[in-house]
Subunit: 412 residues, 4 copies
């Protein structure tokens, strides 16, 4: 029998943290003794617990420590983190620490250093002069970079319950098609108004991110989304070739995948329209040029160009063309997305599993996020991936966008 | 080798009927010779074909004749239909003819008699004085009733392509979540306006039928539906205990299944509210009485009572209470629905698999029908069940109802 | 400002109960002071907390007490429960206590009495000689029956975490289509083996309940289910007219809804087969008679008749016929289901939303339950309805039944 | 009023082609006269029709000709196709002909030339010495390449109904979760056996293609798929980083996304396992090397390496790492997929929307294809994209793979 004392601090009772830690110890086969517990008597007070863990083997004890560390459990005697140089470009040392998207600190020579912009499933690199720590994806590491290994000297901070009471503050972000979505959409609109106001007052670093798929255009949500962008509510757009192509097809031909949006039926050979659209944009050189040329006057892309929205178009194997703006290399596209993330204070992930999951991985857990899809599996998958401030809405994207636009002041 | 000559008449080429008949013959193992074919040279002209069918066995030939009869193929020599008396109450003779929901005629002493109000999966009863034929469900047949048997002397009329070009006239009613639904909703609203106009002009027999489930209330569509009813657009309502109970719960407590619709969160012990609502209505005696008493002033039930909407509430094993208006016997409820069907010229089946399928079985194939559900399986199941003039919309019911209400003139 | 002291006892920390209670107090607008807390030092020890709640109004305090009572919070001074006579048949007194499906006790003249067979959304009736308390549905109450009202003197017992570690013991029963289901099916099979063993040893009161829909037959799961029943693993069957009719149609015609199960394609006029099947059973009088006559030799119904499985067939408005065994009145069918529930130690709810929800309402929260559906909304809806020991599997019913049968020893 | 005579030839009646052409003419606003019609009297005979189309404007007549050309309607006087040089690299001439995935010919100096390997949404390039025509994607065209434009001198061949009667020969490939899938899986297995046999007899050019997503591993289908590959039934694999990484994670750690496949529950910090797996493969250089090194002995990747399966791993923005074998550039990955397509005589698209759609675009319409997904929208989307020989199965991927493996002889 081996044992280890760990401590927990914070709102560990009403945030369920203590319960989860004790649960994990038992589920993994250990036993515990609560050697000391101080419970804050009001909601403001912090609580503190000291837990003695007993386990039959060192291996199992190690497993338990691994399991409870993400809840903020700190091994009683603080140690520095360890680092090992990367053995080659693009390769981490064997025992690298794999990050979560929670706020994270490492201990270096007795001092806790915050690692900025937390992201899931990358490693932590330590730079010595000046001393700093950063998240680094596997493909970007260079031979000799100092990479944090093991679990000593690393601590993460569970999400605190928000003080205000809005949709993102619910205990468990439920995903249901049978809940009225109006309040959620109202809360989202209010956040968007606040962010737009902050930007008007000069805080250009706060941003709303929108990531979406082509079903937005097919299902009739284009007009509403274009209005929302034109009105200044969206500042970063992540999408693929299809959303952009179908949006511009709608400008040039009035169709989406050959389906006439104006008269409500399929057009003969209309499936060619998106190809002809892509070809024209390629001939002109970029989305910006076809908008500036006046050929495309309205729609999502036109609104983005006019409003200076930061766009990242990522390529996939199902693309035709693609448009000249598409970043066909997926790692370069991911890097472009990563660069656009800082400052995002609200993320809307609409009708695209790929973009929803890819963006979800890059966002810090603390960023309020709304995932909208007609298929309940998509919001569920996202909320399964972490302790995310995520709200899922099971509805079609055009209904969502129109209701959101109305809340923001659209008159159509 | 046995053979039989059949004839086909009508728009058999552009309605695909000839193709389907030839297809069926070959798929079942027969061969055909087109002994005569007259093709109408313009769209208005009718075409005519005489087909000689060869098959290896009498049994197989019979199978083929059975398979092609619903397409209007008539065995060349016309025969009267045969009838056999029902052996007991509630039991058809062995070889009874099972109906489709297409327009149907039987031949009696050389004359073709139309069977009114076609319905799926019942039998045809012949009455002699005065001579008439009717659809009869199994449970309603009495010993000695004359029931049509076999296939001789029975003909059905395939749906003709509509002359006008609206959503119900598409060749194949596609079900897709990625089609813009606005045009479909506009077409539905236009039909509702026409029917309301006809009723104002004194034709009270034309009706719009609405069948719906409780998700309408949970998802926030109650206000819009109540407005649509109050404005006179719906004349028959099929629902269950839950829709009515949750609607009135919303009036009395502001909640639906305990979820507060006004402030957007669950209420403590709110799940009791629907029980307390049902108990109060039981104490007063009926939905009509609680509305007339002034206790319930707004919502779906109140609008139905005020507008004299014909309501059929059918019970199920998941009901609490139930409300005093619920017909707990399923066969009696089905009969009440059957009685309410004649005159229905538009059916809206929203967010209830049970009511959608049950109503679909009772409606003639020629009744325009819209099926709305967030789960694509429900509209697909309905359109699988026959040659229905059915359109499927994959969207949440509250978005549908709000967009429909807006098209009809709602200002909220 | 008003205040009230409440106490909590049990595994309130590692079962998250304390956290949820404190959460509820704050979410509803109150504040708390933990005036006393004793934490059990090992997992076996019980903990105890005394909480002083402050709220701005009496109304709000009452709301908070209502909200936390289901977690086991007891107002510090114990009181007897109150009862009021039912004002009429079928009507509860206004302030009746609406039950949950958790284990429940009432306090009568200082003594706590357990109410057997907990069920959701009914009331509690007290009988005086001899003294006892029972669950009573609204429709069954008689004028003058003593019905428990208010919240004093009522306590419920939250589900304890199970000691063993099987699929039903997970903290939160996740519903996911991307989890391997083999272990869950193995655990289910093991429970079924144990229950069969117990019955062989003479304990005939323990039972496995199966509730299912007709998709079982359509999707090809009939053979496996029939084997499972024939092998003695199922003791109660809840279904509707359709499952039984399509099962016997498969015996008589080899089809299901007209689709030939043997050769894998639709048969001409095959949709009539289920009607002809129902007609034959009606002519003979019952399912038991058609099986005993030797006309139907295999399948689900034949296995149930041979094995003496207790069957409840409940009617709905979508039924053709129906079969003579169907209880067409939904309240009588519900009562028949209620009577069959005691002793059920495992419930399998497969491919039927209606039966899954209806059965879920009647089962005590402590009964292990597996809900299988291709549509993730169904298992999610069930697990939303309470603190259920429920596991959801998103898969098609025939794959589930075949894998379950293999685990139980089937060789096909 | 303008008019044009067109001719149609082939099985135009029983293949519904004539009906669709007449339908299109009328739907677009034209009228027709059937000036001549010869109907083949038996199924083997070809039919012939000459249709005079009248339309109010030249523009509308042109629209009609565009609409009916894909059905094989040929403008009565045959003309050569026209070509225009590409204006720049990567850009087609304005009026380029956009291809379908049906068999296609172009007319060049009086001769019809077949364009090999039809693919959707690309153009046709004509090479002069030696004379040939090929499909060319937009990104691959070079300045000056001769690209076919307009519609003259192009004909496509609608899919003929297959002679044999197997699952791929149904008139309309229905997608349903309520159909028994056993026959479909049996038919698929039989095709796989035939192709394996043909390869054993030296015809190495015939191939089975498998495209799949990581849900195969998560849901427990890995073992079955590995067996199918090891037994020689699959010859080309399209997948992404995730399928390969989670498969090898299962070899190294026994988990998939951190979920322990052996004991059926999540492991502490198991989500890191796929990252560590990727890191190790990167350190070794390739999937082939880690298999050949003996570190990974079983699973999907090991089977592919041992059996010499042609693998294309395509990158996306949601990838971690990625594995060194992943082609991160989407256009290069698409090209690698295109190269692997010739010879594919059966395509299995399992649990990956992205790979299903991307592969579906590249496959000729005549390739039998099975699309398996738990979400009915995916098979429906595929079958919407063309006249595909596609069968959709709504079931979870592990059940599909296990049942397929059993049909092929697996004993587990």
């Amino acid at each position: 029998m081996v044992s280890q004392t760990v401590t927990l601090q914070g709102h560990i009772i009403d945030s369920l943290i203590l319960a989860k830690v004790l649960d994990a110890i038992v589920m993994l086969g250990g036993t515990f003794t609560l050697s000391e517990i101080t419970v804050g008597v009001t909601r403001k007070d912090s609580s503190h617990a000291t837990i003695l863990i007993d386990a039959p083997t060192t291996r199992l004890l190690q497993d338990i420590l691994i399991a409870i560390q993400p809840h903020g459990a700190v091994v009683a005697v603080e140690q520095d983190c360890t680092v090992v140089p990367a053995p080659s470009d693009g390769i981490f040392p064997e025992d690298f620490y794999a990050t979560s998207h929670l706020s994270t600190q490492i201990r270096w020579q007795g001092t806790w250093i915050t690692v900025p912009q937390p992201e899931m499933d990358v490693a932590i690199i330590v730079k010595l002069s000046p001393l700093s720590a950063h998240m680094v994806p596997m493909g970007s590491v260079k031979k000799g970079d100092l990479i944090v290994t093991g679990r000593n000297g690393i601590r993460v901070f569970p999400l605190e319950r928000p003080q205000e009471r809005d949709v993102f503050g619910f205990m468990a972000a439920k995903v249901s098609s049978e809940r009225p979505h109006r309040h959620i959409i109202t809360d989202v609109a209010n956040r968007m108004k606040v962010i737009r106001e902050q930007r008007k007052e000069g805080n250009g670093s706060v941003k709303v991110l929108f990531a979406g798929g082509p079903a937005i255009v097919h299902s009739g949500g284009r007009e509403a989304l274009a209005w929302i962008i034109e009105a200044g509510y969206i500042h970063v757009l992540f999408c693929g070739n299809a959303l952009a192509a179908h949006d511009m097809e709608a400008s040039l031909y009035g169709t989406s995948l050959g389906y006439n949006l104006g008269i409500g039926r399929s057009m003969p050979h209309g499936h060619e329209h998106h190809l002809r659209t892509i070809n024209r944009v390629r001939a002109l050189g970029s989305i910006q040029k076809i908008v500036e040329s006046g050929i495309i006057k309205e729609g999502i892309m036109a609104a983005c160009v006019r409003q200076g929205v930061q766009m990242v178009l990522a390529g996939t194997i199902r693309d035709d063309g693609p448009l000249p703006d598409v970043i066909t290399d997926s790692m370069k596209a991911q890097e472009a997305m990563r660069i656009a993330i800082p400052g995002v204070e609200l993320a809307l992930l609409v009708a695209s599993t790929l973009h929803a999951v890819a963006t979800g991985n890059l966002l810090p857990a603390s960023t309020p996020t709304v995932c909208v899809d007609i298929n309940p599996a998509v919001p569920t998958k996202l909320s399964d991936r972490g302790s995310f401030q995520a709200v899922g809405l099971v509805m079609d994207s055009s209904s969502f966008l129109r209701e959101l636009a109305w809340e923001l002041g659209w008159n159509r």
